[in-house]
């Protein structure tokens, strides 16, 4: 009885507890379904995004850099396809064996391997680490065949910058290189640290960076969790940088660079109507191609220790006393201040000021203005300068572009000094010992009148001066684009200009100082003015015409052509060339000849280059080989 009762009781308890279990199971089931609903409906957007982020990765593709072309469309800076090897850190499975294989195949130095290891440690995810760029095809192929055993290694085509004219455009164009840490911090753009991406480092490459760069694209790829590429999705296209056309005539630029030869100097040619800079050469120059690949220590020191300063853009950043080249400018100032060009000055070989005797280059006898320019008679300009006063001459110097900083896309310009009394007083107060006394003296005027003393200018300013005299127009130098519109007139009376141009015509075509540099062309004449700038004070009889190269005088020449209807103007400066007529004018003659008759110009250049030991390209290659040998010997 008791047993049965308990049994019945047990059966009731069982049913009750089964109900409880069933209820609990239903509750758990409800929990599961609502959790499922929560995840897939309420949180759907969030997880959808997470799943897409998993699936799709963006590999940044650096944009192709815009070309730089000359005024005729001829390329000056282009992109050459090359081969590169990168590592995607996330996909790298066996870092040690992979690196060992790569180092062997690509002949990496220990420095390279250290750098790669460092970058691998610092990076993560899909930002590639560069192993090598500019890989020759054979090595690239050798890596490619080993790719299956080296997951994470990426062999691909890239682009490197190429400058067909090499050193001829070095200072003008600059070069490109990987962004430095500071540059990255400044811009904070991840593109800058993408392997293979280069930014402009000097010259136009630097100043035109934003126009040349373009928009990075991205290769959108679907990747597995292990980083294996499943397929490439529609890529976000990159936009190449814009092509920039320069005012430069690259053939002329190259010719001028070659013609300067082994000299340390510069040459600027300007369209004297529009201001387009057709050539702007500073030699010797570095080869921007070797800079773009990263320059070796040996090459760097050989460049920076060279006394002829291949790293300096002498057109913009070297300042010289202009010497006699400013005499036409001085003549214009004299005319403006009422000096009659027919007035004669007797030149006994110098000019006495108090108890000092200021020397002339010769005894010119009685000279008028025209003859003073032709013969470069110092005495005339001493006397006339003294009569008018330098504060009346300086405004004309400035008006013709001396001392000016031009609106140009260049990294830096040294714009020199056009002195006057106010300037001298300011300098006296600012810098003790720079000038001896605060007041402008007559001897200051005399020195400045022949382009010595405080007056210092850069070669571009000299070229602009020549261009403004040649055209009478307010020519502004232009590097970018081709311009057709002539600059507005300066407002200098045409008869003044005619007077001065006549003197300059005589310098070359009369019995002037540059008679040896007449253009070898039918019906086209060049006008110009020579100049010789002292490097140091004349001591005793030595006038910087011989002796140690470093102390020889600079040779300068400003010019325009054709004389009858000026179109081209320019300036040539040969450092330590001993004289304008001797060193600079012949260069100007050949460069201008090239503008009118290429055949003839190239012939005479060929003869010269034979003396110098080959063309510019040949000499550059030889120098590069020597540097390589020296660097190998040092390593």
């Amino acid at each position: 009885m008791n047993q049965r009762l308990t049994s019945a009781h047990q059966s009731i308890s069982f049913s009750r507890r089964m109900l409880l279990i069933g209820g609990a199971q239903v509750a758990v089931g409800g929990l599961l379904v609502s959790r499922l609903g929560w995840l897939s409906v309420a949180e759907n957007d969030r997880y959808k995004l997470a799943s897409e982020n998993n699936r799709v990765q963006l590999i940044v593709v650096p944009p192709r850099r815009g070309w730089i072309v000359d005024r005729t469309g001829k390329p000056i800076a282009i992109n050459r396809s090359d081969f590169r090897i990168d590592i995607i850190p996330e996909q790298l499975e066996q870092p040690e064996t992979t690196l060992r294989t790569l180092a062997e195949v690509l002949e990496l130095t220990t420095d390279d391997v250290d750098r790669i290891l460092r970058e691998l440690k610092a990076s993560k995810g899909f930002k590639p680490v560069q192993v090598a760029e500019n890989v020759p095809y054979e090595k690239y192929a050798a890596v490619t065949v080993r790719l299956p055993e080296m997951p994470g290694v990426q062999a691909m085509r890239g682009f490197s910058r190429f400058y067909p004219d090499g050193p001829a455009v070095g200072h003008l164009i600059g070069y490109v290189g990987a962004a430095s840490a500071e540059e990255y911090e400044k811009e904070n753009n991840p593109l800058l640290i993408t392997p293979g991406f280069k930014i402009g480092k000097e010259g136009l490459e630097e100043t035109l960076e934003q126009r040349l760069r373009g928009q990075p694209g991205g290769q959108r790829v679907e990747l597995t969790a292990r980083g294996k590429l499943v397929r490439e999705l529609t890529p976000k296209p990159d936009r190449s940088g814009n092509t920039v056309q320069l005012a430069i005539d690259s053939d002329l630029q190259e010719f001028a660079a070659r013609r300067l030869g082994e000299e340390s100097g510069s040459c600027v040619i300007i369209d004297c109507l529009t201001g387009d800079i057709l050539a702007m050469v500073s030699m010797p120059a570095y080869d921007p191609n070797s800079f773009s690949d990263g320059i070796g220590r040996t090459e760097w020191s050989s460049l920076s220790e060279d006394p002829r300063k291949p790293l300096l853009n002498k057109v913009l950043n070297s300042l010289y006393p202009p010497g006699s080249t400013i005499k036409p400018m001085g003549a214009l100032a004299l005319l403006e201040h009422g000096v009659n060009p027919a007035d004669r000055i007797h030149c006994p070989g110098g000019y006495r000021l108090g108890n000092r005797f200021f020397r002339c280059l010769g005894r010119h006898g009685s000279v008028d203005m025209r003859r003073a320019i032709a013969k470069s008679c110092n005495t005339y300009f001493y006397a006339m300068g003294h009569r008018v006063g330098y504060d009346n001459i300086a405004p004309m110097a400035k008006r013709l572009g001396l001392g000016a900083e031009f609106n140009l896309p260049v990294v830096s310009q040294s714009y020199g000094t056009v002195p006057n009394s106010e300037w001298k007083l300011r300098k006296f107060n600012e810098k003790k010992g720079f000038v001896e006394r605060p007041d402008w003296t007559a001897s200051d005027t005399l020195n400045a009148s022949i382009g010595q003393g405080f007056l210092i200018v850069n070669p571009l300013q000299l070229a602009i001066m020549a261009a403004r005299i040649a055209s009478g127009r307010n020519v502004q130098p232009k590097l970018i684009g081709v311009h057709k519109e002539p600059a507005p007139l300066l407002g200098i009376p045409p008869e003044h200009l005619e007077m001065v141009r006549g003197g300059m015509w005589q310098v070359v075509n009369g019995d002037g100082t540059a008679g040896a540099s007449r253009l070898p062309l039918e019906g086209i004449e060049m006008s110009g003015k020579t100049g010789t700038a002292q490097v140091r004070r004349i001591t005793g009889g030595q006038r910087g015409q011989s002796g140690d190269w470093r102390y020889r005088d600079h040779g300068l020449f400003v010019f325009f052509a054709p004389s009858s209807n000026p179109r081209y103007a320019g300036a040539v400066v040969i450092e330590h060339g001993m004289g304008g007529s001797r060193a600079a004018a012949p260069v100007a003659k050949d460069v201008l000849t090239f503008l009118f008759d290429r055949q003839k110009a190239l012939q005479s250049l060929g003869a010269l280059e034979q003396q110098w030991g080959g063309t510019l390209a040949e000499r550059t290659a030889r120098r590069a080989a020597a540097i390589k040998a020296a660097s190998a010997a040092r390593a």
């Binding site: 069982f14 507890r17 995840l39 997470a50 969790a225």
Partner: protein, 370 residues
Amino acid sequence: MISSAIIPQPLARLPWRLIFMVIGIGLIGLLTLYSSAGGSMRPWALKQAIVFAGFFTVALSMSWIKESTIKAVSFPVYGAVLIMLILVEMLGFVGKGAQRWLDVGPIRLQPSEFMKPVIVLVLARFYDLLPPGAIRSWRAIWPAATLLGLPFFLILIQPDMGTALMVIFIGITVIFVAGVPIWLFIGGAAVIAAAMPLAYAMMHDYQRRRVLIFLDPEADPLGAGYHITQSKIAIGSGGIFGKGYLQGSQSHLDYLPEGHTDFVFATMVEEWGLFGGVLLILAFAAVIRWGMQVSIRARTRFAQLAAAGLSATIFFYVAINLMMVMGLAPVVGVPLPLVSFGGSAVMTVMLSLGLLMALERQQRTGNSLS
């Protein structure tokens, strides 16, 4: 169930509703395995199909086993499985490593899997033998606790926390429905809550990590929390109707780890969405409900308790796996039965279903022993 003149009697007697349901779940599993192999029968779907068919045949044939036979073998089988568990432990000790299986010829036996249905049978048999009046006494508790505690301990030190927990849950369910006083369970729960920190201190490092990650999976989404995070992404990104069959990026691109075993539900829901997930849950619910019905309709105490315990086995499998996959429970390595790739879970569940079908057949044939 289905009765017709044309269909032979033995066939008509089979529980067809259950069979359809089980085959349905199995087919969902095969489709998902086919997809997670990137649209291929190999390496998983084909193998799974064979295993499934094999064990299902075994289960169907088990339905002819008499209840008296089951009762008679309960204790001997329990003893045998317990010995196997000890053997595994010794092998692991000799081999200096965790081991969960015995190699018997070509077959790899995992005794802890057998223990799941066997613990149900032995406890049901124990309470069946226990006089009803003794249910509130100490006698009703300590033998059951021993029968349950021994295998639990042996499996826990393998270490296989998932299986050990399942064994204990299943055992407790049987003890609960057998009618042991309810305060014991409430008290037990309180003791366990109090003992949690102690258990935590005794855990292996990887187990501890799992618990911590369960509590905060986002803290280390790329490290140890990766499983749960990726599983939730897979499920959540599916939406209501899923990304479409063979279109699941999480599983196909290997972001979802174990997408064919423990996390197969995430693979399935990514492609079939909430709709598919609910469908599968309902199918399991129907199977479990069928088992519970068998228990409620049972005419013997053994059948009652055994059926309840076997249904609970399936329930715990499904519930623990789904909670784990959806981030409601720590990752303990419990597969989704009949869907996840792998033979042992299929075997356990099919054995349970076979026993349930046997018990159900006894009810219908009216072959009562009481």
